[in-house]
């Protein structure tokens, strides 16, 4: 194992990134899947920067003539994983935003209805509203309804 300035720098950066990822995970800023992915990635870089000779073993396993091709393929594979993660996250967030908008529209409509009808009708609506709330993530209640 020959330690040069370059390998030492890469090793230090990798170690710092591992610690940073663990802190982020602890502070709940990243999920468990993303945390594991990044820690594995940085630990891999740390390991191969300290033991570059071990890369030969991996290259032989891949049966590729050119080492550069292997590195390119590996990078593309990692990028695919990251894009998939981002795509899933964006899709989930988009669904949540749509649901929030939808719930907001119902809540506003519910409030408008309560204002615009007489007390008897409003009571019936409140009963139905309570039933909707039972299955919903948001409250349709308004603190300043006329019957309060």
């Amino acid at each position: 194992m020959k330690i040069t300035l370059v390998t030492l720098t890469i090793a230090c950066i990798s170690l710092l990134e591992v610690v940073r990822t663990l802190i982020k995970f602890k502070m709940d800023r990243i999920g468990i899947r993303a945390g594991i992915l990044w820690v594995c990635l940085w630990l891999g870089i740390l390991f191969f920067s300290l033991f570059p000779a071990k890369l030969d073993f991996v290259f032989n396993l891949s049966s590729m003539a050119n080492r550069l091709y292997f590195l390119f393929l590996l990078a593309i594979y990692i990028l695919f994983i990251l894009v998939f993660e981002l795509h899933s996250k964006v899709e989930t967030l988009s669904h949540r935003v749509s649901k929030l908008n939808h719930e907001l529209a119902i809540a506003r409509y519910s409030t408008e209805c309560i204002y615009s009808t007489n007390e008897e009708k409003a009571t019936t609506k409140t009963e139905n509203k309570n039933q909707l709330e039972e299955y919903s993530d948001v409250s349709y209640s308004n603190s300043s309804t006329p019957d309060q």
Partner: protein, 240 residues
């Protein structure tokens, strides 16, 4: 037949200013209540409907027809209606045919009555792509649900409010609300809801254009069916 006061007609509308007034007027003229979900229109669709006397629910973002339909259901369920009718706001559906749905609901145990463009006489006027693929999509849904309908994608439908109340948790957890029709039939079949159909006659759009790209729509339906079938909640659902 359900009393007219217990029937609400819901419309989902996005930039339908040119046609909404005729549709809302034809509904109100017959004495039905009307709820319009304005899916963030930029041409004053919601304001026009409100001026005519319809109740308007507004989305602050354009969420698509499926989400708007879910909003319709929930808005209608806030009031003590017994029957909820769903119609298109572009004038393609004829409000004078609403009574067909009400009669079928009154004379059967159906929870949902679907309009069928195939059983109606003017299906041959439909877009050729839609005419070609509709039987396949409907056939697939029939195969998966056990229903025997001829037009699963028709937007002219009637629902018993009590049945929708019973399946509210399912409506709240739809995986793909933008392609609600296919997912709704799959899930409702698991819950034992009865579906029947009546022939309807389509009219030409008063104006505007459809925002459903056929290829994207077809892909969306396929994805929705696949996702629903892979959802453990779908398989856990049982008839009450």
């Amino acid at each position: 037949l359900a009393s007219i006061q217990k029937v609400v007609v819901t419309l989902t509308a996005f930039n339908e200013a040119a046609s909404i007034s005729a549709v809302v007027e034809s509904i109100l003229k017959q004495g039905y209540s009307c709820v319009v979900v304005d899916d963030c229109s930029e041409d004053g669709t919601g304001e026009i409907a409100a001026k005519l006397g319809a109740k308007v629910v507004r989305h602050t973002e354009n969420l698509g027809q499926g989400w708007a339909l879910l909003t319709c259901f929930k808005a209608a369920l806030l009031e003590p209606f017994e029957i909820i009718i769903e119609m298109d706001a572009d004038g393609q559906h004829n409000a004078s045919e609403i009574h067909l749905f009400l009669e079928r609901l009154a004379n059967s145990q159906a929870d949902i009555v679907v309009g069928s463009r195939i059983l109606g006489s003017n299906h041959s006027d439909a877009n050729i792509i839609r005419r070609t693929f509709l039987p396949y999509v409907t056939g697939l849904i029939n195969f998966l649900t056990g229903y025997q309908i001829t037009d699963a994608m028709c937007g002219f439908r009637a629902f018993r409010a009590s049945s929708l109340r019973n399946v509210l948790p399912v409506l709240n957890n739809m995986l793909e609300p933008q392609y609600i029709a296919s997912e709704m039939f799959l899930r409702f079949a698991r819950l034992g809801l009865v579906v029947e159909e009546v022939p309807i006659h389509m009219q030409n759009r008063h104006s505007g254009k459809s925002y459903k790209g056929m290829l994207r729509y077809g892909f969306g339906i396929a994805r929705t069916i696949l996702r629903t079938m892979l959802d453990p909640k779908y398989w856990r659902a049982r008839k009450p």
